[in-house]
Symmetry: C2
Subunit: 305 residues, 2 copies
């Protein structure tokens, strides 16, 4: 049970955690915080929060648990602002998609990473953002990665883990650097490729015609390019080492594909495509996919050629 939860950044991620904990009956009061008063009033109207402040220092007063759900670039100034205003026993956790930068932010602001700061990352979201898009089931059957440090208080870690499990999530622990490498591969690189492809096409002379003939496969493939540009700028900058490594790996793959196609080497192409299909069918396209969600437009036309 959390007597007072402070959510800094009441958007899809922060709003959904608030809604989930409320739905579970596990939270007393929820205090929201953000830069936009209008946005916070909307969160209040929706019943996601009970009251709000636009000042993080004020919002965290008396909170047992503080959840930072801002874009990554706001983490450091937010930590600097709440420093000295937290209760002694307050636990702070976050939902940032990159953990190395968040840990570094905490280290810079507090001199060392506080024992009751538990870096976390719920791997969930939709391409929509804002509190209107939040819903209590967002984390159900989703993975949440926590990246505790050697100095992390085990009791704080347990409480944060329990909180995510209350939301229906499956919690894993991972090393900070490893987390950032894995996410660079499965999330950050795909977003870059989708943004990059749409941008490359948008800059072509015939862009209007190109997009007109895009089929279902293109829609699926580029859906993530409709995500928040600010959020993704922050992620790419914050995780630039691991993302850079992955981009390099992928450039090698792409050069190999280009050579293979230029040579007309169908056997080798078939080998690559078959290996990729087998990996995807085996790892990704399991029974999980079917239960993945609810209301995004279904799409039967996923691979029009």
């Amino acid at each position: 049970m959390i007597d007072r939860l402070a959510v800094i950044g009441v958007g899809l991620i922060g709003g959904s955690l608030a809604r989930a904990l409320r739905a579970a009956g596990q939270v007393g009061e929820i205090v929201g915080c953000g830069r936009s008063r209008e946005h916070l009033e909307r969160a209040l109207d929706l019943g996601v929060i009970d009251r709000f402040s636009t000042d993080p220092a004020e919002a965290v007063v008396g909170a047992d648990l503080v959840f930072l759900a801002t874009p990554l670039s706001a983490i450091r100034p937010t930590l600097a602002r709440i420093k000295g205003h937290l209760r002694d026993q307050a636990i702070v956790t976050d939902g940032g998609s990159v953990k190395g930068s968040v840990v570094e932010d905490a280290r810079v602001v507090f001199g060392r990473v506080p024992p009751r700061f538990v870096p976390g990352h719920p791997i969930a979201g939709t391409e929509r953002s804002g509190v209107e898009a939040s819903f209590p089931e967002l984390y159900r059957q989703r993975r949440v990665i926590l990246t505790p440090l050697p100095g992390t208080d085990p009791e704080a870690l347990d409480r944060v883990r329990g909180l995510w499990e209350l939301c229906g999530a499956e919690v894993s622990l991972m090393d900070v650097v490893h987390h950032d490498e894995i996410l660079a591969a499965t999330s950050h690189l795909p977003h870059l490729l989708a943004y990059g492809l749409v941008d490359a096409l948008a800059r072509m002379r015939e862009n209007d015609e190109i997009f007109r003939y895009a089929a279902g496969g293109f829609r699926d493939f580029t859906r993530i390019a409709s995500s928040s540009p600010v959020m993704w700028r922050d992620i790419c900058v914050a995780n630039r080492t691991a993302v850079g490594d992955m981009l390099q790996r992928f450039a090698v793959e792409l050069n190999d594909l280009a050579d293979t196609i230029q040579r007309g080497d169908g056997d080798r192409l078939l080998e690559i495509f078959a290996r990729a299909k087998a990996a995807r069918d085996r790892y990704v396209d399991g029974p999980n996919e079917v239960s993945a969600g609810a209301d995004v437009p279904p799409n039967r036309s996923s691979s029009a050629s």
Copy 2:
């Protein structure tokens, strides 16, 4: 009205056309053709075809309309086999995803592209294949591109256009080379990127772990990597000039992104991401997306970061 339709290659594309024309009451008899007797018997059981032959030369006898729905690599041998067995007034059309190679195949086999051969490309499909995956609504509200040549018989063109319209498709005419360039951009390159990404990850040491933490965005992004490797090998080889050009363009974009990230140039990243998002939201994610299909797993978690 088609008295006798011959469908060479009774899979998703061929089977769906047969089903759609049957549902429209616009076809007398449907003759299927393919290499696998077992597969054709399945098509017969499903009522997609009325009878079959494993020999294209036999299957096209007496047909008014022949639809070639084989992988691209089978087009030339199929044309060679049916040559001399077609009725004088028979119209031949195809569903190949690359038009330059199909036109070249026809030219090589017949000496010139026959006037009653109408190259076509329905931009529809799912990542599933086979006659079991076919359904009569596949082409509804889909685009079909026909790429007639200067020598194409206008009456044959009109009939093929009418046939696709009967299936609910929206038909456009396009130049062969232009078709292949547009599709390289919107379809062939995205498939290569999806296959390439999954393959790059599958070859990494930690691949098991990587795929375990892949979220909804990754599933959407890589869905097209579950498409038929044979079909995509054929497409990439057949359209290698245009695909090579697009790969080059994209490599430039990717290098630019890599530099920008390495420099930590957030402003420029934001500009690129925002431009891409605006293009996608404007062109792709319109009202069409909602009506895109029926039974593929919905996915709310499209941009977990």
